[in-house]
Symmetry: C2
Subunit: 370 residues, 2 copies
């Protein structure tokens, strides 16, 4: 449990793998943030001011420091807002309980805790809240409860809330500083790169399919197939990851090529279109598995036009990916679409074109979206 | 922010929707757990024994009480193990720093915090650890840090760790008691039901496709299509949810029809097969959108055998779903497979069977899996 990470770190440093290197950078950043925030405890001048509340700064760093800068920002702000709201309402609740006094005090506190606990827990489960503010709602319940019950014992609830909040802000500041300024790891870059790489994967899958279909030997099939399927499935199951990355990317400030109000929503839309295309390629692939295959002569007769279409399609997909990568309008769109259409008509003369026709239909759709 | 949940609770109670009712139950359970754990603060005999550490019990309830019993168990155990390990190693680290003494003490603490913080953060990012022990690793870092830095100030680190741990155990006990014994919401039930409902959805999608294909009017198409697509996509994007439900279900003790070492892994496999089938139906569907369609006469000539195949397939899928629901071996498997095969041969005489043949191929696969 303890040695493994260090072995892995060494291995990560030796390999040139970008993702592993980022993991190492993230780990070192977390380590540095923890040391910085521990200084509140270690150095006497700091400790004299914040005391035991320094604990909350450590907690904030451990809990909010995430891999992507956007995730750290989103979690930190959620925590901040949750703490302020929970603390504020908690103070009101505690003051109200104090005003009641006597045995009623405890009863009022119990009722208030139940009502807010159950109510906010219900709110947390609404899909919209769950997606963006789940963590904030949890922190709200936590802070609210603690302040309300502390109010019964401590005389200065407000003072307690203030110091606690200030240490949380310190912890958050350390997180933001290190996460934003020291080798930032952007969710936006990750999303952008993963979308572009999916275009390449799709083009390669399409070419792989055509190669396999027109190949006569069955030997090479097995190896390529597994690779092909895993490629396609990785595109197909990208939805959840895309959504969370977009969620983080929205929080990230202007940086590199991504300006303010960058249209992140379109990434979701393009991702959806890519998944639709992948569905078709996967189902084409399953035709290969079928026991009833079209005859060798028929295959050979459509080989040339089919391969022409496939290579045009693959080229188009790559071109679209490239234009997203370079963030420019796809220039070849006007030339490629009529070309593909003419090849399709040529094809439909030769065979019943239901399957291949579909492909073209969808690529047109993709061209319009991008 | 505050009124919405109560309005929703009322609406949830009025509607007969099972899922909404479960959400209300969960919210009430969380409320009750919070009140119970707050008694540590509210009642003097308790408070005299645990003091400010009662805070940790509240935190444990807020953080570990999840919707599904399995999730609560998994998070609670992660928290417990993380606290024990982090606390233990933290005590060792603090003792070591004390032994060094002087200025070196703070430096040793700083180095120890950095090494453990960075190392465990790196470990957290490994896919296997991230999936199951992410929360435990986070709690480990948190507890370790707190104990190590507290060790510099407090004289009795061990006493501190002991009280803190005992309040965490109290909080966890309240969570487990309420989560397991009061209207438990099982992840296993959810997984089981969602798998069965996907069989039904798949059968309905298949029937919807055949109806649409053989219908001559284009009017009804639009409405059915949207429904059809969203059904299929909900099956296609079930992977992440399935995986997390299986993860929780494994933690759940024997209950209802699910015994110990129930084969939850097979749910993932069947889910994967259902997604493969859905891929094919979606791509069949996109044939409808294609501009080049087979002629009306050709369609009418294959209408009867095609509809026979589709209804047999839909029946088979429903039968398989039903047998999973009732947890018995599917009895009609021996009769249905030869029947489907004979219909397929019949069909392949009439048309080029590449698309429809695929369907049958895959259903055979499904039959073998279940």
């Amino acid at each position: 449990f303890c040695c493994q990470p260090f072995v892995s770190i060494l291995r990560g440093k030796l390999s040139n793998n970008g993702h592993d290197m980022r993991k190492v950078i993230h780990s070192v950043k977390v380590g540095v943030a923890l040391v910085l925030v521990s200084l509140l405890y270690l150095l006497d001048p700091f400790y004299d001011r914040v005391g035991e509340n320094a604990m909350w700064a450590i907690m904030t760093v451990v809990v909010t420091f995430e891999f992507f800068t956007g995730a750290t920002l989103s979690k930190g702000l959620n925590r901040g807002i949750g703490t302020v709201l929970g603390g504020g309402l908690g103070c009101l609740g505690a003051a109200f309980a104090q005003a009641v006094g006597g045995v009623g005090k405890s009863i009022v506190v119990g009722i208030v805790i139940f009502v807010f606990g159950a109510g906010v827990t219900y709110t947390r489960q609404m899909p919209k809240i769950k997606k963006k503010y789940d963590y904030g709602a949890m922190v709200f319940i936590l802070t609210f409860n603690m302040i309300v019950v502390s109010g019964l014992r401590a005389d200065q609830v407000l003072e307690l809330a203030r110091t606690r909040l200030s240490t949380i802000v310190m912890g958050f500041a350390v997180c933001i500083f290190i996460s934003l300024l020291v080798f930032p790891i952007w969710a936006s870059d990750e999303l952008h790169d993963s979308l572009i790489s999916r275009f390449e994967l799709l083009a390669r899958s399409l070419e792989g399919f055509s190669k396999e279909y027109f190949e006569t030997s069955n030997e090479k099939e097995q190896k390529g197939s597994a690779n092909f399927s895993s490629n396609c499935k990785s595109i197909l199951h990208s939805k959840t990851r895309d959504e969370s990355l977009v969620n983080f990317a929205r929080w990230e400030p202007w940086h590199g090529k991504f300006g303010f109000s960058y249209p992140w929503g379109k990434y979701l839309k393009i991702g959806e279109d890519l998944r639709d295309l992948t569905t078709i390629i996967i189902s084409l692939k399953s035709c290969l598995r079928s026991s009833t295959q079209s005859s060798e002569t028929l295959r050979q007769s459509v080989k040339e036009p089919c391969q022409a279409v496939v290579s045009s399609l693959a080229w188009t997909i790559r071109e679209l990916g490239e234009s997203i990568k370079k963030m420019r309008k796809c220039q070849s769109e006007e030339t490629i679409v009529p070309k593909l259409k003419s090849v399709r008509i040529e094809l439909s003369v030769i065979v019943n074109p239901s399957t291949i026709g579909t492909d073209l239909e969808n690529t047109d759709g993709l061209g319009l979206v991008s």
